[in-house]
């Protein structure tokens, strides 16, 4: 199946796949980078964003409303989760943090199953984006094209927040040296809460934007979580540019490997991660501050 048109098509598809992974991974990585908490509920938050959006879509029939609702709902979930639960685990060992976020993921998934059942739910893209666009080398779903653009804008916004605002400066400083930031008299508590909210919001936004592509089930976040971790590890834990780079690399690996032998697409993804860990244990753009 290695033909020139197919290669170009897969390259492009890898970009689309990677953009989405980059967005989800950036949420995961800034939370870890700032708070030091590896949030195993991140996949479940991606799923929650999808379902919150779906519920809004059912009620309103509008995709835009669904996206706004899915995103804001997860901002609230993130803020609450940080304030009520995660906050009490900053000082505790990593294992406890893993367990509590893993437990929350189960609670989220089963609650959604209880409310919406295991049957898959479909969110239709807006009518203007529902068709197919000829790209010359291939026919590509218009909505997926739009997602590349939507995600690019979202990543840009995240970038501006992180690199052009005072909050972003604190967050980045926190990733480099959290204790020093604390010593400088900055209210780390509130920053942490906001960062957790932003991370959750990124996952929720990705969840609802992705919903028309995949159709929702309560498990939709599980497979994504695994891939997101691979992305974060490849890109460098705690690094926002790393998450973007890692996402694109992962998307291309999955896409291009499946051109040669689809059975090995995910194997190659993990092989790439192993390789990166051997050569650059901190990941491609890993920050030096954190262990």
């Amino acid at each position: 199946m290695i033909t020139w048109p197919n290669f170009v098509s897969q390259l492009f598809n890898g970009l689309a796949l990677g953009a989405l992974l980059a967005l989800i991974a950036s949420g995961l990585t800034i939370i870890y980078g700032t708070l030091g908490v590896l949030n195993l509920a991140h996949g479940a938050m991606f799923m929650l964003g999808g379902y919150a959006g779906f519920a809004a879509y059912q009620a309103s029939g509008s995709f835009v409303v669904a996206v706004v609702a899915g995103t804001l709902a997860l901002l609230v979930v993130g803020l609450l989760m940080e304030r009520v639960i995660v906050r009490h685990f900053y000082a505790r060992p990593h294992e406890d943090q893993l367990l509590v976020t893993f437990g929350l993921a189960i609670v989220f998934v089963e609650t959604v199953r209880w409310l919406f059942s295991s049957e898959s739910k479909t969110v239709s893209p807006p009518a203007a984006l529902a068709g197919i666009t000829p790209l010359g080398f291939m026919m590509y779903p218009t909505y997926r094209l739009a997602v590349v653009g939507i995600v690019a804008v979202a990543l840009l916004v995240l970038f501006l927040v992180l690199y052009r605002t005072r909050l972003g400066m604190i967050v980045r400083a926190g990733i480099e040296d959290a204790m020093m930031v604390d010593c400088l008299g900055i209210n780390v508590d509130r920053v942490f809460m906001v960062v957790f909210g932003i991370g959750a919001m990124a996952a929720g936004f990705a969840g609802i934007v992705n919903a028309p592509i995949v159709s929702l089930t309560p498990e939709v976040g599980e497979a994504i979580l695994v891939q997101t971790f691979v992305v974060v590890v490849i890109g460098g834990v705690g690094s926002f540019p790393g998450a973007v780079l890692g996402g694109l690399i992962a998307g291309e690996i999955i896409s291009l490997t499946s051109m040669v032998n689809p059975g090995y697409a995910y194997v190659m993804l993990f092989a790439a991660m192993t390789l990166v860990l051997m050569i650059r244990p901190r990941g491609l753009l890993g920050a030096h501050g954190r262990e």
Binding site: N6, Q10, S118, S120, T122, S255, M259, P262
Partner: protein, 449 residues
């Protein structure tokens, strides 16, 4: 004198006791001989520990979460209805198992249920627990052949009978068959041989096909059987085979390959939510309707989940579809009873589940005992059995039920007479000629004890 009297009295009492014992023995005799016969059988597996009380327990490990959850729930309802019917002596059960009165050999059936998530490990662990704690005398469950094959091995090792849930791999009654496992439903080879001629007639010879295959025993054997048939008999060519893991989150890269191939037919072997997702995405990529979609191994609820627009004109092979009630009285009884209890028309997962318990009850009643080797021999006797799709029988060499395969074609939304009228039955293909020779897939059943 006094001594004499007491001696005589004692003798008299002894005589009386002796008579009494004999009498009691005589009265108890029928029961006694039966008990002796039962105890003649050496303990094996959960026998006789599992049949001590007034009830016997069946262990069910079925996916209630994950990719196959929706189909698992449908199956579970089929088993639950069968248990209710067996315990109550429902007329439908007595059509299939004429000796059934209430329960099985007079014992009430109970079930214990676990979520397998379609993972072999989870299923085996749950059933192992059911064997130890509940002394289950029958196990079932699987909506994945990977689970069915693992359960087969557990059944043979623990000497506890296992009837498969949904399992489409050739291996389940092929190279991974066991003495303690039985399968009711159709599978890769019979699906291929049933749908193959239909496809050649509908689409002609020399076509190019793209396959989508889930990466485990079910996917590989179904794809092989279907492709073998089409290449040998119709000169078709497989231009690409897109193998994906169970539960893949996205099919775009696989579909990109297919879109860039010159395939005319898309044979989608994916199952459960994977099938839903890959069909929806094939539509998004414009592959449907550019290519003709074929579903060689029908997925319950597929048409409902992807909508009839995507399944219209699509050929699929299946175990059962509810409109068969127009042709088979037993199917009608089943569909009515099921719909009354659950509020929707049963899919083939429920039918398969129901039949597998009904046929087990039939085998046990005919054996007259729960002793597993005797039940197995009862299955292997090759009796003609009633089913919802006419007469069927178990093949003794590989424990596969010889049963028809149903060919359906998707209706257009306009043709549908009600919201569940997705498929039109075009053919009910007799099972015998569809099957490979019993040893063709390397089946060696193993020991009874």
């Amino acid at each position: 004198m006094g001594d004499h009297t007491s001696e005589a009295r004692r003798a008299g009492r002894r005589q009386f006791l002796r008579t009494g014992v004999l009498l009691a023995g005589g009265l108890a005799l029928p029961g006694l001989t039966r008990r002796v016969a039962a105890e003649d059988k050496p303990p094996i597996g959960t026998y006789p520990a599992g049949i001590q009380g007034n009830s016997v327990t069946i262990g069910i490990a079925v996916p209630r979460t994950g990719t196959y959850a929706e189909q698992g729930e449908d199956e579970l309802k089929g088993w639950q209805l069968a248990v209710e019917h067996i315990n109550g002596g429902h007329p439908l059960i007595r059509e299939i198992s004429p000796k059934t009165k209430k329960g099985v050999l007079g014992k009430e059936l109970k079930v214990v249920v676990a979520d397998s998530a379609a993972k072999p490990n989870d299923a085996v662990q749950a059933q192992q627990r059911f064997i130890t704690e509940d002394k289950v005398i029958l196990m079932t469950g699987s909506t994945s052949s990977a689970v069915a094959v693992a359960m087969n091995k557990l059944a043979q090792r623990e000497k506890v009978l296992y009837v498969t849930g949904i399992s489409g791999s050739n291996d389940t009654t092929g190279k991974d068959c066991v003495r303690y496992g039985f399968r009711q439903n159709f599978y890769g080879e019979t699906a291929a041989n049933a749908i193959g001629p239909v496809l050649l007639k509908a689409y002609g010879k020399g076509k190019k096909a793209a396959f989508m295959t889930p990466d485990y025993t079910y996917g590989h054997t179904v794809t092989k059987s279907v492709n073998d048939y089409l290449t040998k008999n119709g000169g078709w060519q497989m231009v690409t085979n897109q193998v994906s893991p169970l539960g893949a989150p996205d099919y775009s890269s696989y579909l990109t390959n297919i879109a860039n191939s010159d395939a005319e037919i898309l044979v989608n072997v994916n199952w459960g939510h994977d099938a839903v997702l890959s069909v929806q995405q094939a539509k998004q990529f414009g592959i449907i309707p550019r290519m003709k979609l074929v579903i060689p191994y029908q997925i319950p609820f597929l048409a409902k989940d992807v909508t009839a627009e995507l399944t219209e004109g699509v050929y699929a092979a299946t175990d059962f579809w509810w409109t068969l009630q127009d042709k088979y009285p037993l199917a009608k009884m089943f569909v009515e009873a099921f719909e009354k209890k659950y509020g929707y028309k049963p899919e083939w997962g429920a039918e398969n589940a129901y039949m597998s318990f009904a046929l087990w009850a039939e085998a046990v009643e005919n054996a007259g005992t729960f002793y597993p080797p005797d039940v197995i021999k009862s299955y292997e006797a090759g009796r003609k059995l009633n089913s919802m799709v006419g007469e069927v029988y178990f093949r003794k060499e590989d424990h596969q039920l010889v049963r028809p395969v149903v060919i359906v074609r998707g209706k257009t939304p306009k043709q549908m007479r009600n919201k569940e009228d997705f498929w039109e039955v075009t053919e009910v293909v007799p099972g015998g000629p569809l099957m490979q020779k019993p040893d063709a897939f390397g089946c060696k059943l193993g020991d009874y004890t």
